[in-house]
């Protein structure tokens, strides 16, 4: 008698719309399609295969950092160190390569260093109940310092011909006509989407973000979960660092600057709640795509950088506002 939810929807559609937060994802997907159409009308070369190829490669880093930040946001925390970890990753790997270290070994050592930053973040936040904003503000500054000190406060020289394979793997190579950067993002998305939606740890992540007390009482180790999400965030940032190093063929100290905020934007546009417990990674992918399409499309439309920034800022605010209004209406009904 109380259960009058429409039962007439067909199985698959019902199952998809039943996923928590799917409503927002569907809305922003429509938004993404509209954006693409608008940019295509303003400048038809937007849909040229060359631009689409570039666009997918531009979307990839936002997907990666978005995934990392979404993991952290779903536990109800935030990771401000993402940008600095990208800088660290770029500078450490590039510096080692210019010093003659095998590129793959350099990447491996760098990855380890970045993961330590993730562990540190999680340990500070969960082990000492430090506010995540403050804890990761600290590691953000430390990370940027490490990026600067790596090559004695200079950007590195070219990482050289020995790194050709590394550069192709992360940026210039193509598989099935699409840049490898995008494929890397797709594979990482598939793995982490599975991890978040189908595993025990994934459930624990949502539980911690939804109600940390109930999670603790249910036997969830909040410390372990928190460390895991920060390590995943650092991992994603490290990969983005490699793509930047591969793209430029050198290490830049300011690489990844303010990317942590782009990651928040991608997550939030895609329906991940900054209050924790809500959101799905597919939404983050769409959010990242909107972010990159805006950058790319506005550039194609000939908008100056200042106008681009203002437009993107407004769209972030509107998309979150829409979500709040929709949720608010649901509640008051």
């Amino acid at each position: 008698m109380e259960q009058s939810i429409e039962k007439n929807k067909t199985g698959i559609i019902r199952r998809i719309t039943a996923i928590n937060g799917m409503g927002q994802v569907l809305t922003v997907t429509v938004g993404l399609i509209v954006l693409c159409l608008v940019f295509g009308i303003i400048n038809p070369t937007f849909f040229s295969s060359r631009n689409l190829g570039n666009l997918l490669r531009q979307i990839a880093p936002f997907i990666l950092i978005g995934i990392g930040q979404s993991y952290v946001l779903i536990t109800g925390n935030i990771d401000l160190s993402i940008g600095s970890v990208i800088g660290m990753s770029t500078m450490l790997s590039a510096t080692m390569m210019t010093k003659g270290v095998n590129p793959w070994l350099a990447a491996l050592i760098t990855l380890a260093a970045c993961l330590v930053m993730g562990i540190l973040n999680g340990w500070l936040v969960a082990g000492f109940s430090m506010p995540p904003f403050i804890a990761t503000l600290g590691t953000m500054t430390i990370g940027r310092g490490i990026a600067q000190i790596a090559n004695g406060n200079y950007n590195t020289n070219s990482i050289g011909a020995a790194a050709e394979g590394f550069r192709n793997f992360f940026y210039y190579g193509k598989v099935a006509g699409i840049y490898t950067t995008f494929w890397i993002a797709v594979i990482i998305f598939l793995i982490f989407n599975f991890y978040l939606s189908k595993t025990k740890t994934g459930r624990h992540i949502y539980a911690v973000g939804s109600n940390i007390n109930a999670a603790k009482l249910s036997g969830v180790s909040v410390t372990a979960v928190t460390i895991k999400v920060y390590v995943i965030s650092a991992f994603c940032a490290a990969i983005v660092g490699f793509t930047q190093c591969a793209s430029a063929g050198m290490g830049a100290m300011d690489a990844g600057n303010s990317y942590e905020m782009y990651a928040v934007a991608a997550s939030v546009i895609g329906g991940v709640s900054t209050l924790g417990g809500q959101g799905i990674l597919f939404g983050t992918v769409i959010g990242a795509a909107i972010w990159a399409v805006l950058q790319n499309g506005l550039q194609f439309a000939g908008a100056p950088v200042a106008i681009r920034n203002i437009a993107i800022g407004i769209i972030v605010i509107i998309s979150v506002l829409l979500d709040i209004i929709v949720r608010g209406r649901k509640r008051s009904n």
């Binding site: 008698m1 928590n20 624990h204 939804s210 249910s218 417990g277 008051s332």
Partner: protein
């Protein structure tokens, strides 16, 4: 018609998936106390939130002092003298009592706050209520019962003419309830209308003039309280006769399952020793703040223990965190479902599986969907949780159904000892009986049940053995046969004087 200060007609309201109210009327005269009764999910709280302007109605009319109100929201409701005291406390924990009471209408000139006036004014209202709380105390430092009194004081301080009380006594001690009733009578004499929602039916005879009964979002009956009997009220509420209020099954007590020796954990858990055997329900009785919840929290590993040993099936176990307790076969259904029991934003299914993921996932940690579905369906079935789809977020369920989810999630795994902390708090009569039956079934299955409750008849009716706590100590143990209300109360108040002075210190020193 003129003497009705509130008249609501044909009120309807739907939430996604649920028709909460269907063509419901309500009226209230000045100078009367109206009891609004019904099971959980009957729509009482929704109706009251519409009256207070918190929810907007889908259909129907509201008349206040005979005047039809078309635009109606929380602000207009307040201006019309309507005040609501919520079941769940809505307080700013970091602000003082006075600051909470005057939130949004602080006295003072221009933008300057007159703290002295505010504190004086707050003290006057609190004095009137005969509660000993300093206006300068931080709300977060007060026990729940005092916080509730502050909430009532806050409503009274706006000179409300129409006062809605949603389960105001569920967290109060009997003395505090008496104080509250004195105030309610005083307000009634002054011409206020009071709508009183409570599941503690035995309270009604003290204050109620008229009753209005709802069931499943519909209006059932209304009339003078004297025309009703307890049985007729209950049968109107549940729509069927409940023969046995406290179903009790006799089992032969077997070997000891749980033994606690000399447990110490802070001021509220001091030298606690007891045991639970197979085939028995052990009740822990006591007044608010006796340390019962703290004891269960220490056993379950939520709070740190200072000393003491715990044995399960004769084997000593070390419990440092809840997962240790779960591994050793002890589970705890906590008291405060919103704070400790549920992830309300998550689906029912994920809540039920959360503590049981180890049982339904493979070695790699992947949750096996099929097993999870089976577990959830069984739980929803076993505990008759009213939900259209296990994917619905728990926050969309009624309080009673939420409580069932709490119990279901803990009983979906085999355990040796189940601790229930106030499992029937704020839920309706029929749901209570369902909970008792669940406890009896566990008992028959040879599982030890430890049961904390503040409702004396319930403890007496359900338990095989009763431990009485007072001020962090066990002050006595009674068998089912020898236990009477008087005996329990005597034991529970053995340190009454001490508690009171302690309570006052708590209230004022911060």
């Amino acid at each position: 018609m003129e003497d009705y200060i509130v008249r609501m007609e044909h009120i309807s309201k739907s939430f996604p998936g649920v028709k909460a109210l269907d063509d419901v009327p309500l009226d209230l005269k000045s100078g009367e106390v109206l009891a609004l009764l019904g099971e959980n999910g009957a729509g009482k709280s929704t109706l009251m939130k519409i009256l207070a302007g918190i929810y907007t109605r889908d259909a129907g009319d509201i008349f206040i002092f005979g005047e039809k109100k078309d635009t109606w929201n929380a602000k207009i409701a307040k201006e019309n003298g309507i005040a609501i005291i919520h079941q769940e406390l809505n307080m700013c924990q970091h602000l003082t009592v006075a600051e909470n009471m005057f939130l949004g209408r602080e006295p003072g000139k221009a933008f300057l706050l007159n703290r002295g006036d505010m504190n004086k004014e707050a003290a006057k209202v609190l004095d009137n209520l005969h509660v000993d709380i300093s206006p300068k105390a931080l709300v977060g430092s007060l026990p729940v019962s005092k916080q509730q009194m502050v909430e009532i004081a806050k409503a009274l301080s706006v000179n409300a003419k129409i006062l809605i009380m949603d389960e105001p006594t569920s967290a109060l001690s009997s003395k505090e309830i008496d104080d509250l009733f004195v105030i309610i009578r005083q307000l009634r004499a002054e011409g206020c209308g009071i709508i009183y929602i409570s599941h503690r039916l035995e309270e009604l005879s003290h204050i109620v003039d008229r009753v209005s009964i709802m069931r499943d979002g519909r209006f059932i009956s209304s009339g003078s309280f004297s025309d009703y009997t307890m049985d007729s009220i209950i049968s109107d509420m549940v729509g069927r006769e409940i023969k046995e209020k406290f179903p009790h099954v006799d089992c032969k007590a077997g070997k000891t399952i749980l033994e606690v020796r000399h447990l110490n954990a802070g001021r509220m858990v001091r030298d606690i020793s007891f045991s639970v055997r197979e085939g028995e329900i052990v009740g822990i009785a006591g007044l608010m703040g006796a340390g019962r919840t703290e004891t269960t929290r220490a056993i379950f590993g939520i709070d740190q223990k200072e000393s003491g040993e715990i044995f399960v099936d004769g084997r000593e176990v070390r419990i440092r965190k809840p997962s240790d307790a779960i591994k050793n076969g002890i589970v705890l259904a906590p008291e405060d479902r919103k704070k400790d029991g549920l992830c309300t934003k998550l689906p029912v299914q994920h809540n039920i599986s959360l503590p049981n993921l180890d049982l339904i996932s493979d070695k790699a940690g992947k949750v096996i969907r099929r097993k999870e579905n089976t577990m959830t369906e069984k739980a929803i079935d076993d505990f008759s949780i009213k939900v259209s789809d296990p994917g619905v977020a728990v926050q969309n369920l009624s309080g009673g159904n939420q409580q069932k989810v709490v119990v279901a999630k803990w009983l979906s795994r085999k355990s040796r000892i189940v601790i229930f902390d106030e499992p029937t708090r704020g839920i309706d009569v029929a749901a209570k009986v369902e909970i008792y039956n669940i406890m009896n079934q566990l008992k028959k299955d040879g599982i030890g049940v430890l049961f904390v409750s503040s409702e004396m008849p319930e403890v007496l009716g359900v338990s095989d053995r009763i431990l009485v706590m007072c001020d962090g100590r066990i002050t006595g143990e009674l068998s089912r046969e020898e236990a009477t209300q008087e005996k329990v109360l005597t034991l529970a108040t053995q340190f009454e004087k001490k508690i009171e002075t302690k309570g006052e210190e708590n209230g004022t020193e911060h």
